[in-house]
């Protein structure tokens, strides 16, 4: 995958293969392109060139304008991919429950009692059953991020993308969010997490990916990558964060 903004290349040929059920942590210094890479995976950012294949949907880009047909394919891809943002991006004009219910209603036209029960079950699962009728801005950051996860899960994705999900939260609260992600991992969800939280990456990941300067420098299981990194850059980065 390649992507540049104006003159500056952000992604210079990034390739990654993720197996079903894996939890991948993407780490690296700020500006290394890890967030852009994640956003290119569900085409919130349009890569200049490259291919994304997931759940039988393949989108291939070789430059040129983004066309209606491409948007259609992205739409197909996104039915399998959920996303969680650093700043939660909950819809402030809707209750927590309606935040969860909006996309199923609008996109799938599912708005019955069944969906409502399912949404409530999702909120219970992330520990927000009691605040379902409240508005997002009245919740704590950790509650908001868990609501955002429930909102993404309501579309029944097979893959979840997290863009620094705990960076806006203090460590204690972050733990609530990471707990939910670990539960999902146990249930077999495929997850890609861009994170600065090395402790989480070490404990929860199947694979840690280290990015720098628009490249994937190296990738491997935590016990290998963290203990015995091959590349000098990885080593230097880990020294500063561990």
């Amino acid at each position: 995958m390649h992507k540049s903004f104006g003159e500056g290349a952000i992604l210079s040929g990034v390739s990654l293969e993720v197996r079903k059920g894996e939890l991948i942590s993407v780490i690296g210094p700020s500006g290394c392109g890890k967030s852009t890479f994640l956003r290119c995976l569900n085409f919130l950012e349009i890569p200049d060139s490259g291919t994304v294949t997931a759940m039988g949907v393949t989108i291939e880009r070789q430059g040129g304008p983004w066309r209606r047909a491409d948007e259609h394919m992205a739409h197909k891809l996104r039915t399998h991919v959920g996303m969680v943002f650093q700043s939660f991006n909950l819809f402030p004009h809707l209750t927590v429950l309606d935040n969860v219910l909006l996309a199923p209603r609008v996109v799938k036209g599912e708005g019955g009692v069944e969906e409502r029960d399912e949404a409530m079950a999702l909120l219970e699962k992330v520990g927000l059953g009691k605040v379902a009728q409240r508005y997002p801005l009245s919740l704590s950051g950790g509650q908001q991020q868990r609501a955002a996860i429930a909102r993404a899960l309501a579309m029944r994705p097979e893959i979840m993308l997290y863009d620094e999900p705990t960076s806006a939260l203090d460590p204690l609260v972050a733990e609530e969010v990471l707990g939910v992600m670990r539960t999902l991992d146990n249930e077999g969800m495929t997850q890609i997490v861009v994170t600065h939280d090395m402790r989480f990456a070490q404990v929860a990941s199947d694979i840690i990916v280290y990015m720098d300067g628009g490249h994937i420098i190296e990738a491997g299981p935590p016990e290998t990558l963290c203990v015995n990194p091959v590349d000098e850059r990885t080593r230097r980065f880990l020294r500063t964060v561990l």
Partner: protein, 518 residues
């Protein structure tokens, strides 16, 4: 689920049914728009009855009744021609454009037969001949001849014979007015020292005012004619001329003018009718009586109560025009804002161009253009529809800018979150971005509606008698700008208040999600 999706959907449904209601209203008003030229229909004629004593005006004792010597002349003319006539009210400035648009076939409104006028319209033979008179304050400087006016401030009506006569005396400081009432108000208040004006006006506004008097000899000769659209209706003009000649001959015109105390030596000369029939000036007397009868407080109060139905009628029209225009402005404004932000580049710049052009030109011109200009291209809108279009298209530009700012201030992340949830752009706008922007623009929208309510007074130039037009008419008929002004001002306030309250309630309710439990 008090707020949220269902709430939002129901609002959409509300807006949609609101649109339907507006369409029905527009159809009801629009279809009753004047259509000229059908032989079976009554012959339409127009005048500005808002303040035109003694030509065509609303009876002081009964505001729902029209009277005036020209009004009676037209009734007589109809009888002589054997045709039904129908009166159309139009603003003075719109009288001739309306004629050319075919809203009516004739205009009679004290229009002087001059070479300049004859270039734009065709005239009947004169139906009345009079002269200019000088009016002064009884206790002010006295003048009896034109030459005496040199160096003094003299008022008159703009674009009249009197103004042209004064222009021949460069040392006179001429001040021109639109409304007769204002000419006389300024003389009474000492802003001018004399008035030169058509005989009938001098008599009905000057001689009836205890502070004023007519002085000197008649000056010049003024002839009034019925106006027709230039180069059309030659046959009708011929019929009218024949009828006028018959009315001169059988004395019916003499009778009318005598009852209004308006038979003049010039008229006798013109008609070659030097008889003095024994006709009491009853209309003149009753006008004078009504003028002077209104002094007491009980009289005044009774008169104000009599205004209420007229004010209510004006208020209903003001409200109907404003509401329809606002719905149009909101719908078009939102579309323009969305195009500017999310449309293809050429659509965005087209929408931008629209906003710039509309905001950069006066609303009055836009309304006149739509009503009088578009018919040249075959787009013939009724006055109500034209008023709604004019106001709505204008306010859409302001709404568009308002909404654009609102949409832009909704965080980018909201759109991204919606897209990531697999909504389309349109769905994201409709369910996520626009509802949030709506909360932000709500207060400005309320302000805009109040402004629109007031700007709707401009539709009086296209024959609609709304609140302001009602005010002008009533205040200048009774020389009572203060009392009527308070009443009409109160009416506007009453119209606007419910919407301010409603908006405040809505704001509170909509603001709740953001502030509650914080």
């Amino acid at each position: 689920m008090k707020h949220g999706l269902r709430h939002f959907l129901s609002r959409f449904v509300m807006v949609r049914s609101g649109l339907l209601a507006v369409l029905a209203l527009v159809a009801a008003f629009g279809l009753s728009a004047p259509k000229a030229g059908f032989a079976a229909e009554p012959l339409r004629w127009a005048a500005d009855a808002s303040a035109d004593v003694p030509y065509t005006f609303h009876d002081l004792k009964d505001q729902s009744r029209l009277t005036g010597y020209e009004y009676e002349l037209m009734q007589e003319l109809g009888r002589h021609m054997g045709r039904d006539l129908a009166f159309v009210q139009n603003d003075w400035d719109g009288l001739i454009p309306g004629l050319q648009r075919g809203l009516y076939a004739m205009v009679i409104c004290g229009i002087e037969i001059t070479p300049e006028h004859a270039e734009g319209i065709d005239f009947s033979t004169p139906y009345y001949v009079t002269s200019e008179r000088i009016v002064v304050r009884r206790n002010g400087p006295q003048f009896s001849r034109l030459e005496d006016l040199d160096g003094h401030v003299v008022g008159t009506i703009k674009a009249t014979q009197a103004e042209r006569i004064l222009a021949g005396h460069p040392k006179v400081h001429v001040r021109t007015y639109d409304e007769e009432t204002n000419v006389f108000m300024d003389l009474v208040n000492g802003r001018t020292e004399a008035i030169l004006i058509d005989g009938p006006i001098a008599q009905y506004y000057g001689a009836t005012n205890p502070a004023l008097q007519i002085t000197g000899e008649p000056i010049g000769r003024v002839a009034y004619g019925i106006a027709f659209a230039k180069g059309q209706n030659a046959a009708l003009r011929e019929q009218v001329n024949t009828a006028l000649a018959a009315m001169l001959k059988d004395g019916s015109l003499h009778t009318i003018l005598a009852r209004w105390n308006l038979w003049t030596p010039e008229m006798a000369q013109f008609a070659q009718d030097f008889s003095t029939p024994d006709i009491a000036p009853t209309e003149w007397q009753s006008y004078v009586a009504a003028q002077q009868g209104g002094a007491g407080w009980t009289e005044r109060l009774r008169r104000y109560v009599g205004f209420l139905p007229l004010l209510a009628k004006g208020a209903v029209l003001t409200l109907a025009v404003s509401l329809c225009a606002m719905v149009l402005a909101v719908a078009l404004g939102l579309s323009l804002a969305l195009l500017r932000l999310y449309g293809a580049p050429w659509m965005a710049s087209l929408a931008g161009l629209y906003v710039e052009i509309v905001r950069g030109t006066p609303l009055l011109i836009q309304i006149l253009f739509i009503f009088y200009g578009l018919p040249q291209f075959g787009i013939n809108l009724g006055p109500f529809l034209a008023g709604v279009m004019g106001l709505g298209l204008n306010y859409a530009a302001y709404e568009a800018e308002n909404y654009r700012a609102g949409l832009q201030s909704v965080a980018r992340g909201q759109m991204e979150a919606a897209l990531a949830l697999n909504m389309t752009h349109i769905q994201a706008l409709r369910f996520v971005v626009v509802p949030q922007a709506f909360r932000l623009v709500m207060p400005v929208m309320t302000n805009d509606f109040i402004s629109l309510l007031k700007d709707s007074s401009l539709v009086s130039v296209i024959t609609l008698t709304e609140l302001t037009q009602t005010y002008i008419r009533l205040s200048s008929t009774y020389f009572d700008y203060f009392g009527t002004g308070l009443m009409v001002g109160g009416a506007y306030l009453l119209l606007g208040l419910p919407f301010v309250r409603l908006a405040r309630m809505a704001e509170k309710k909509l603001a709740q999600p953001h502030t509650r439990h914080r």
